[in-house]
Amino acid sequence: MPAKQLAGGAIEALLNTIIKLDPISAKRLQPLQDKRLKVSIKELPWPLTFAFSDRVDVLTQVDAAQSTNKLEPSADCHISLQMGTLSELKDSSQITRLIQEKRLDLEGDIHVAQHFSTLVKDLNIDWEEHLSRYVGDVAAHQFFLMAEKAKVRLSHGLQHISTMLKEGAIEEKKLIPHAVEIEQFVSDISSLRGQVGRLEARIEHLVNQAKTQN
């Protein structure tokens, strides 16, 4: 089975499904019309080329010779990066920094990469609206209300656990010092540094005085 085409097809289907969920993304695809972006991720065995129209088509490189063959078309922009850097591309203003840090190689039109980055970053999907098409408005609203409450409760719960662990480690087990103690310690160090400085200056002054008397 052609594995590359299977992977490319899955990525294409996923990407287009997500893009379709945001009605504004069609407008954001406009600047990318007829452009091609080739992405080589160092951890993956083959590069992917994204071809933009009113949707995104994913093309896979069939063989290694294709990348050097003059008969094969090149992309408008080719980026090479590691998987870990991928999430940082969401912020298009970081692209220049990533290039300077040599974490991103870019050939061709930087605007293609920036527009694609903006397309992904600015996706604003109204999940409640989409769920309501299948289960109705009330059920979808209730589901998201419950999810929101659960999220708040979870956040409070995590905060509570964190406070408990902190207090246990500071007050009961004495594993780490309290913030006030650290502050006091830092203040003492600072004061000591000042006293040492003054003493050093006084000694230097006395040494100079002794030299002039001799």
């Binding site: 089975m1 052609p2 590359k4 085409q5 299977l6 490319g8 097809g9 019309q33 007829d34 071809a51 129209s53 009113d54 949707r55 088509d57 093309l59 896979t60 490189q61 069939v62 008969l71 094969e72 078309p73």
Partner: protein, 253 residues
Amino acid sequence: MNNENIPENTTHFGFKQVEKTDKASMVAEVFHSVADKYDVMNDVMSLGIHRLWKRYAIDCSGIRPGQKVLDLAGGTGDLAAKFSRLTGPKGQVIVADINASMLQVGRDRLRDKGIVGNVEWVQADAEHLPFPENHFDLVTIAFGLRNVTDKDQALRSMYRVLKPGGRLLVLEFSKPESETFSKIYDWYSFNLLPNMGKVIANDAESYQYLAESIRMHPDQETLKSMMDSAGFEQTSYHNLTGGIVALHRGFKF
């Protein structure tokens, strides 16, 4: 395929020998019969793998915005939909098929998807393409060449309409590489396939023809040499799914 001892005015239709003049209408009858269920049957018969074979062909096409594509035997418009997007509004995709029913199914399907701007539909015979010389950047024929009566003539016709630098892609059933796999495939083709055709499309005969026509189609090396003879250069082929299908590629310089 063995062409020895075959009278000049006859050709094969599946395992049968028929008059050359009759084959086109007999093939047309098959596709009139299956047109409505063609996509469903393709998915069922290949377990959806035909979509990956077509993706492979598209990945090999090297097509760019603004270019001209001729999709022969493109009936239901699978490849044309993708080529339409890849060539963009300045490009042109012509879907040609000898069978009006298949063209109708494809045209309706693409229109429903909103793909209309740069796609044209032409009822044409691959042996006598009604297009000017040196016109297309890419010619594709997916699962259609085996139904053509005179394949050599069709390949020459495709060569004629290609621009210098253009390429031909032939995606077609071929000969499995392994003997064991070939036996399993034969059993599937001649036992399961016609029955599936009967259940899903209520047409066992057409799917019996499909299995027979695949066996009568030239194998990988023969088709490659036919492309060479037609004038194509840098011809090559790539087997897919153990050789059940092969993609042949040739260039005109």
